[in-house]
Symmetry: C2
C-alpha cells in the first residue's frame, strides 16, 4: 500500500544522479577531462584497471550491450580505452584503460569517495551503510524486472 505521497523512486534517483554528475563533471574538467560525458564516466568507472569484457561492463552499469559498445567506441576515439585481445580467450576482447583512462578513473574514484564521505558524515555511519545496501538491493531487484511476455 502506498502512503498519501507515494515515493517516486525514479524521480529521486534521477535527481541524485544529475546532482552527482554535476560535481563529477566539475572535477573531471579541472583535471583536463572535460570531454567525458556521463555515459562514458559510467563505463570508465566500471572497468577493472587490467581491463574488462563488455558483458561485465554492461552488468555493472546496468546498460545494454549496445549502449556500452557505443560508449566504448567513443572512449576509444577520445583515447581513454583500448580494445585488446583477452589473454585467457583470444577470441574475446578486453576494454583496457589507457594512461589517460587511468587518470580519469582516479578522478572518478576520488570524487565518488568525497561524495560518499560527505553523506556518510551527514547521516551517520550506521544509516549510511544501511542506505547504500538498500539502494544496491533496490537497484538489483528493479533490474530484474522484465516486461510480461507476448
Amino acid at each position: 500500500m502506498s502512503t498519501d505521497a507515494p515515493a517516486d523512486l525514479g524521480a529521486l534517483a534521477a535527481r541524485l544522479r544529475a546532482a552527482i554528475d554535476q560535481e563529477t563533471a566539475h572535477h573531471l574538467a579541472a583535471a583536463g577531462h572535460a570531454d567525458l560525458r556521463p555515459p562514458h564516466r559510467a563505463v570508465l568507472a566500471a572497468l577493472d584497471d587490467a581491463g574488462s569484457r563488455a558483458t561485465a561492463i554492461g552488468r555493472r552499469t546496468g546498460q545494454h550491450k549496445q549502449v556500452v559498445g557505443t560508449s566504448v567506441d567513443e572512449l576509444e576515439a577520445l583515447g581513454y580505452v583500448e580494445r585488446q585481445p583477452d589473454p585467457v580467450d583470444r577470441r574475446a576482447k578486453l576494454v583496457v584503460p589507457t594512461a589517460r583512462g587511468l587518470d580519469a578513473r582516479r578522478v572518478l574514484a576520488t570524487t565518488a569517495a568525497t561524495i560518499a564521505d560527505r553523506h556518510r558524515e551527514a547521516v551517520g555511519d550506521r544509516i549510511f551503510t544501511l542506505f547504500t545496501r538498500v539502494l544496491g538491493d533496490v537497484a538489483e531487484r528493479q533490474e530484474a524486472w522484465r516486461a510480461p511476455g507476448p
Copy 2:
C-alpha cells in the same frame, strides 16, 4: 573515511534510474505514449494538474531551467502540455498538461506506485520509509553542492 569498497552513489543512482526508466517506458508504450523520453517523463511527473511554472519544475526535477525549457517545448509539440498565462501573474507562464498529458501522468503515477510497492514489500515498511527519506535527503544535500568560486 571510506570503507574498502566505497559506495559509488552515482553508479547506484544511475542503475536504479535506468532500470525504472525501462519499466516506465514499457507501461507508457502500452498506453500509447511511446513518444515520451525520460526527460519528458520527469517534467510531466513534476507538473501540478493545474499547471506549474518552469522554475518549480526545475526545482522538483533538479534540472536547469534551460533543460526544462527544451523538454517543455518538445512536450508542447507532442501535444502533452500547453503554455498558458498564469492567472495570478499574467506576465508569467504556466505549463499545463493537456488531456493527453493527464493520461500520461496517470500512467507515470501508477507505475511509480507499483515500483514503490514492490520494493516496500521486499524490504519491509520501516526500512523502505527510512530508505526513501534518506534518498531524498541525500539528493537534496547533493543538489546544494556548488563548484568553488574562481
